[in-house]
Amino acid sequence: MNVLQPIGRVFLAFLATVGRISIFTLDGISHCFRPPFYFRIIGRQMVEIGYYSLPVVGLTAIFAGMVLALQSYTGFARFSAEGAIANVVVLSITRELGPVLAGLMVAGRIGAAMAAELGTMRVTEQIDALTTLSTNPMKYLVAPRLIAGFTMMPFLVLVADVIGVFGGYIVSVYKLGFNPSIYLQNTWDFLEAHDVISGLVKASVFGFIVTLMGCYHGYNSKGGAEGVGAATTNAVVSASILILSFDYILTEIFFAN
């Protein structure tokens, strides 16, 4: 048996998948700019992503900030650099943990829900029904979700940044005994606009990735309930991997120099 055959087959399948996702992405983006626009659906999706994800993102952020402060203290104490904790917490949260953790949590919540919803619509012929009712499914289903994800994630991450820094503040002041005024001053002094903006740009990209993967896997699901389940899993896994990959790429772009 030729051992290169399965490797070649997997590689070709990978390329085919990348091609299909690329075409889906371009088609989805084009419909975001071409009328008609379904403002009611865009609004509904923005509320679903931006408002109903607040509790899970907030909880994630506060615990992330608290753990970061605690871990930084125990680590930095070895070098007598405890004073840098405020800086570490605010820069880590705004540049990395805020957008990445929010992205991963939203991928699990929103990405999975979108894949399940569109997948169910696909296997019950609701997407075909849209076409017969002279409604473009990409424009009606996918474009509003892409727009909502791209625009609402920065809002979520901004809230996560504030809550995450607050979590670090709670641990630092009430457990580790830091002076609250000095802690807040250090937090503010070392924070630059560039740190927050880079995090918000990442947020937009991650929001787009989460909604894109949810829509792609749901829209193309087949095989009944099992297919919908597979689509849901694939949406979360692929979104998570892409978030981490693009996190590196964007970090390179913003901070390489």
């Binding site: 619509m121 019950t124 012929e125 609701q126 029904a129 017969t132 002279s134 409604t135 473009n136």
Partner: protein, 258 residues
Amino acid sequence: MNEKQPKIRMRGVKKSFGAKVVLDGFDLDVAEGESVVVIGGSGSGKSVSIKCVLGLLKADGGSIQVDGVEVVGAKAETHEQVNRKFGMLFQGAALFDSLPVWENVSFGLLAQKRVDRKEGREIATAKLAQVGLAPEVGDLRPAELSGGMQKRVALARAIAADPEIIFFDEPTTGLDPIMADVINDLIIKITREVGATALSITHDMVSARKIANRIAMLYDGRIIWAGPTADIDTSGNAYVDQFIHGRAEGPIKMAIRK
């Protein structure tokens, strides 16, 4: 004297999924105002033929014309224009779970911005009445309806825009015999009231005999017999005979793994 152009003309339509050939030279004409039923075994390609007309599937070859407009290989804009003539009743109703019944019924009109929401609600109520459903049903969600009610709502949605052509995909599948007959009666009533051309696919012979002016049988990717409903019992075609009488023995061999 020139023969009037068929409402739908399908010639030599081919469709395969990988190595599996489903349609292999499918020919069918549907005249304006006619009700044609395509019968055939499960998996014979009946739904595929309708989906090729609607553009939900791309035919691999052949010609499909709707009012003389070619749809095989046509652009998306052409399909959208042609699809405005259609109403479709899906096998599983395919109602939109996230919308109330009234919004399902007037969905096409609202999406095309032909009416506002108030008018859409009024039209939906009228269409629900046509299929024998009370106005209160309009406020329910599809998940709250029985199978028969879902089919009737789907029928109301299919006729909401007063289409010229209505497709019925296995309209009585999954329904009890009484509800199936209710749907059959509604199909006859509605197509007459709307004046639409109807193309149905089913393997329910009771339904086929009731709603069809003409019946065509699909086997092995082709139409092997077509004629008036009254002639089906004397078709002289062994495949048609085996199918309409539901016999396991005959020239139609079902693939059974032993």
